[in-house]
Amino acid sequence: MILKRFRWFLLLALLVPALLAVPARADAVTDSIGVYIGYFGWTEDQYVEKASYTWQQLDDAYGGALDTHEAVYSYYNGSRTYLARGRGFYLRDLLEYAGVDLGSIASIDFFTKDQTVGAYRSFTKGALFDTQRYYFPNLAVNEDTGALYAYDGSGDLWSGASAVEPMLALEDYTEWDAVGSEFEKTADPSLYSTASRFHLFFGQSAPDEIGTSSAAKYVYKILITFAGTPVLSQTETNLELKVGSDHTLAVSVVAEDDLLNDYVKSHITWKSSDESVVKVDGSGRLTVVGPGDAVVTASFGSSSAATNVHVGADETAETTAGTGTGTGNGTGTGAGMGAGTGTVTGTGTETAAPASSSAGETAASSSAQEPIGKDETSSADETKRGVYLLAPSALSGSAQAGQTGGEAMGEGSRQLVLQTPETRSYALPAAICLCLAAALGFLFGVIRYKKQR
């Protein structure tokens, strides 16, 4: 009964945003291509963009950087032949131009515009670059059996074979069920079309190699996966620290590319084996808590580097004498869905607070005025507030504290990690409005229902 009362409201609330929020889907044609690099085990979005080019930047016929070549490629799918003639640049040249070290490649994934999820085709480096590939002009297929035979009657499927290089064609034309030697006779550049750009051709390693479906059209992204993993190493492997001392660990990264070094460095996670001895924040900064031994580990994926930290008992006694409570007053700036300034006021209890300390590290709680002007009490290390995402390492400040603890006045700043335009799509407001409309519709229906009863 209730549902019947407000079914139209619910229906409208559900359908209107759903219908209008359908995003346009990229279907096929592409004008540019990107080369992305990463390591085995990484997800697609972790790969780092090495280079992206429009087709004009690459096509020497239009003043681009790469030499283009014309070649014929043969394929066999088990029952039919497929011939392609293309003009394009060699994949090897593209990768070298992009600055990719071919010797370090483990595998290559090709993403195409007509496939929405995942790679269309993947190769190991060995299969694509280290195995000689050929064009076979003498392949013909028995229409009844689908078996290959030599078109020239010689019985030699290899007759006339010529080596080919994997190519990304800028323009091409293709033909099913043709014989290469005949296909070549009809070669005519006026048949070229750019409508399948960038069209991957790579030929065959043997006449009976089946690989027709791998000649991917509309390639727009190439994922290069390097062999091995990034190597992490700590510059300090053993540390002797005193309680209350301040120390930041540095980790070096050796990866195949500077871009990967930067990426890995910015995504390292830090962990202390014993937080009663030492704590570590997201940037490798240590806070010594108490005596004992701990191992601080920096890690990224399966790579890690460790530092042994020893905090002596005597030194602890000397430096942990002061305890007290502190209050931090801070100002912060932020920009997000809007923009504004805010004040952070925190009170907290400090344990063994040093003469100068960070309010952000030590304030146990704070009352903060957010940029949107809303007062609330919160934990100082809270990382989410409203639509903002606060960077874990961004809450910092300096506090002036009495030598025995006491009250500390601190300044803090909050860096707001904004939602990017990509993530801030209209789907979110649509979803919010949808919920609002549905809730109101439900409320309205309930009230009407109750009144009628």
Binding site: P17, L170, E182, S190, S193, R197, A437
Partner: protein, 362 residues
């Protein structure tokens, strides 16, 4: 309370509606609009001043590139390196959207939305379900989409219509329309002069087998009949797609054409040494040639304004006494008119190098 709730609910629904439209508002037409009734009978509000258009496919790109290349904000595909020299140079730098129709629709809505078009124009022959297709596209992208019929018989009207909706292009549209009218009138007049007994039967074929034909009644073969010839291929289920109707060798010999026209990439170069074809009368007589193919196949494929060039060429090829003019000069005039390209006599000769019959019929 009830009114308040109703108002709130309405507000929420409107908010959700605007939220859904937010991403599209940037590309919505702004300013004054006029009503336009397209060739499907759809009435569409289009901007009064149109200077940024996106073609929906190959034919639309071809036609718009002749009347207002500077108004194009996208193309279906970048011109190939062979075509590029003859066409307006700005085409190569435009984003590519693919095409709405064809063997596989590849229209890239993302690119279409991002190219800043005020209007999407589809040109060509009328197809089934076009109204629904165009309405759906228009609704999806939030940009007006219109269809203007532009097969050979509607080409002049299409140019006039384009001249009326593209800002400042009325005169250019009329010039091109007049050329279309003159060409068709010329062909009809000359065709009427040809006695039925003298009408040549023509096979228009393509593909590496040479057996992919454009049969009588297909859009692709319109030029043949217009110039006064007869299409040698008569089949029941006529296909107007690019590949046409594939016939077998037995049918080929039954049709026994007087003249064979091979598309580029077919077997023109090898047919005389091909045992399967060698006994065919047209081959034995040398009555075969290759159709000029730049910047587009002059006979069709795609069927568009290139067919006008084909009319002049095929008429002159088959009936030089009736279609009596210098084809080189005529090709130069047409290249200048359509693409503002100064075709040299040498280039014209090169384009038509394999396009003469060794023993002309007619």
């Amino acid at each position: 309370m009830k009114k308040l709730l109703s108002a709130l609910l309405l507000a929420a629904l409107l908010c959700s509606l605007f939220a859904g439209c937010a991403a599209k508002s940037a590309s919505a037409p702004a300013g004054e609009t006029v009503s336009f009734t397209d060739s499907c009978g759809r009435t569409v509000e289009i901007p009064k001043t149109v200077t940024r258009v996106a073609p929906s496919g190959a034919v639309a790109t071809m036609i718009l590139a002749t009347i207002a290349p500077e108004y194009l904000v996208s193309v279906n595909a970048t011109p190939s390196s062979s075509q590029y020299r003859y066409l307006p140079q700005n085409l190569a730098g435009l984003p590519t959207t693919g095409q709405m129709y064809g063997s596989k629709s590849t229209l890239n809505l993302e690119t279409l939305l991002g190219c800043g078009a005020q209007l999407v124009i589809d040109l060509g022959d009328k197809k089934d379900n076009m109204t629904a297709d165009l309405d759906a596209l228009q609704k999806k992208i939030g940009i007006p989409v219109v269809f203007i019929e532009a097969d050979l018989t509607h080409m002049a009207a299409a140019y006039r219509t384009l001249g009326s909706i593209l800002s400042g292009k009325q005169e250019r549209g009329e010039t091109l329309a007049k050329f279309c009218d003159e060409t068709v009138d010329m062909a009809e007049t000359n065709s009427a002069k040809i006695a039925d007994a003298d009408r040549v039967s023509v096979l228009y074929t393509s593909g590496v087998s040479g057996l992919d034909t454009n049969a009588k009644g297909s859009v692709q073969s319109q030029v043949i009949e217009l110039v006064g010839a007869v299409n040698a291929v008569v089949v029941e289920d006529v296909s107007s797609k690019g590949g046409g109707n594939t016939i077998n060798l037995e049918q080929l010999y039954q049709f026994d054409p007087d003249v064979i026209l091979f598309s580029a990439g077919s077997i023109y170069q090898t047919v005389s040494s091909d045992e399967a074809w060698a006994q065919l009368r047209a081959v034995q007589n040398g009555s075969y040639c290759e159709i000029p193919s730049l910047p587009y196949n002059w006979m069709s494929n795609p069927p568009s304004l290139n067919m006008l060039l084909g009319i002049w060429w095929l008429g002159n090829l088959l009936y030089p006494e009736v279609y009596s003019y210098d084809m080189t000069a005529r090709a130069q005039e047409i290249f200048k008119l359509f693409w503002n390209y100064d075709l040299s006599a040498d280039e014209a000769a090169q384009l038509m190098a394999d396009s003469a019959l060794s023993r002309p019929e007619g």
